[in-house]
């Protein structure tokens, strides 16, 4: 007898490996008397088992063809299952290698501890799906049912209970209910990623202007006009809040010749952006009747106001400008803007 028990075992193993894509019970049934068969073959003939029976893989193919199991598109299926098996082996190796750094034998054991957390998160995500659908797209961080917060929170509680109940039962699920649960989980994760990206987009605007004090209540403000106690328009004014951050309101709507020489953010231009659009006319010289309503002085001025003489130095932060309202008592001052 030239064939050893080890050769028989190897042949059986290779046949079983070639049938690895079959359900285990089918494979066991197909190969249960293979060792006995090989022993009979070995006892009757000389030469190796491969000489007598062909390669184990060819034997496996013939066996499955004759038994009528898994013969359709076997080549592609076989390659696919081979790839899947290799991937599974690598993942389980990683699972074992990365576990100790986390303080657990395997990563999967660590992840298993997080499962109840996922069940709660899953319920929250489901509640947010209902919120999105019932309110028609826009949503915040809390679930609402058709815009109603209380109903939304009740729904969240119900979904958490249901999700935990499902989670505790999911190990026993087989077949389509299990697949439906997995598809649902994946859909919720996709929804969560989309929601996160959406929120990140919205938050992005705030990050851009973090150092500038803004407030939604002043959205309608397009320009800022500062008048001194004499009712004169202050040019090149800058506004700051208590933190020293510039207060930016409005947006330049008219061209400033200085834009050409001073590069930079047009929103950092001093107020007013458009002095010609001042709502109140400059301080009234006695002789010329104002074409636009004039702002009365805050305090009673001296008997004969001489604006050029009482110009406040603090009101002219930019000496390059020549704010001389009395120098241009132009009757062509535009009418006050209605805004």
């Amino acid at each position: 007898m030239t064939v050893t028990e080890q050769e028989i075992t190897e042949y059986v193993d290779r046949v079983r490996a070639a049938l690895a894509d079959l359900p285990p019970e089918v494979r066991d049934e197909l190969t249960e008397d293979l060792p006995e068969h090989l022993r009979e073959v070995a006892a009757e003939t000389d030469g190796s088992l491969t000489d007598r029976l062909g390669a184990p893989e060819a034997y496996a193919l013939e066996l499955r063809t004759a038994a009528g199991v898994g013969t359709i598109r076997r080549g592609r299926l076989h390659r696919l299952t081979g790839t899947a098996r290799r991937a599974r082996d690598q993942i389980s190796a990683l699972d074992r290698q990365l576990g100790p750094p986390l303080g657990y034998p395997t990563v999967s054991e660590f992840l298993r501890l997080l499962r109840p957390g996922w069940w709660v998160l899953r319920a929250y995500l489901a509640a947010m799906v209902v919120t999105t659908v019932s309110t028609g797209g826009s949503f915040g961080l809390l679930p609402r049912f058709g815009g109603d917060l209380l109903t939304g929170l009740l729904m969240l509680v119900g979904l958490v209970l249901a999700s935990v109940w499902w989670g505790r039962r999911s190990d026993g699920l087989r077949g389509w209910p299990r697949q439906a649960l997995q598809i649902g989980n994946v859909a919720l994760v996709v929804f969560a990623l989309i929601g996160l990206a959406d929120m990140e987009d919205r938050a992005g605007y705030d990050f851009d202007y973090e150092s500038i004090a803004v407030d939604g209540r002043y959205d309608h403000v397009r320009d800022v006009f500062v008048y001194d106690s004499e009712g004169r328009l202050v040019r090149d004014a800058r506004l700051f809040d208590q933190n020293g951050d510039p207060i930016r309101l409005g947006h330049p709507e008219c061209r400033d010749p200085r834009d050409l020489t001073v590069p930079g953010n047009p929103r950092l231009r001093p107020y007013p952006y458009c002095p010609d659009s001042a709502p109140f006319a400059p301080g009234p010289p006695a002789s010329v009747p104002p074409a636009a309503p004039a702002l009365p002085p805050l305090s009673i001025p001296p008997a004969t106001p001489s604006p050029t003489a009482t110009q406040s130095p603090t009101a002219t932060p930019s000496p390059t400008a020549t704010p001389s309202p009395t120098a241009t008592p132009s009757p062509t001052t535009p009418a006050p803007r209605v805004s």
């Binding site: 006995e36 062909g54 390669a55 013939e62």
Partner: protein, 135 residues
């Protein structure tokens, strides 16, 4: 024509298409594929048997080209189809052996398939006789 394990996947596929598109040369292996079920049922008609025993009977009857795996696979398929019953017999010399025996459905199938084969064989004989190709 059975593909060997050494051939790559693409070669196997081409061979597969070639099988589908070319005219078959008649050989015993090809013929066996159609009638192996009937042959297995026939050798089980008189006596039950285990896998290797059935294989040996088929070879002794003249079907020498029958493949080992084909016989074992066929036995599994006939069993799954409900034509055979199995029982295990303890063996003093080795492991237990699984014996196959014809049940009523198997005998019925054997009768019908046997008639069909005889009719087919007669037709082929007549066809070949008419063309002057008598054996």
């Amino acid at each position: 024509m059975k593909p060997t394990a050494a051939t790559s996947g693409s070669v196997k596929r081409w061979r597969y298409f070639a099988l589908r598109t070319t005219v078959h040369r008649v050989d015993t292996t090809q013929l066996l594929k159609g009638v192996l079920d009937l042959a297995v049922l026939a050798v089980l008609r008189d006596a039950d048997g285990y896998g290797y025993d059935i294989l040996r009977r088929l070879r002794e009857a003249g079907l020498e080209e029958v493949g080992d795996a084909s016989v074992y696979g066929t036995l599994r398929r006939l069993f799954a189809a409900g034509l055979l019953t199995t029982y295990v017999v303890p063996s003093e010399s080795g492991p237990h052996r699984k014996y196959y025996s014809l049940n009523a459905a198997g005998r019925d199938q054997l009768t019908r398939s046997g008639k069909l084969w005889r009719s087919f064989a007669t037709t082929m004989d007549t066809l070949l006789d008419d063309r002057g190709m008598a054996a």
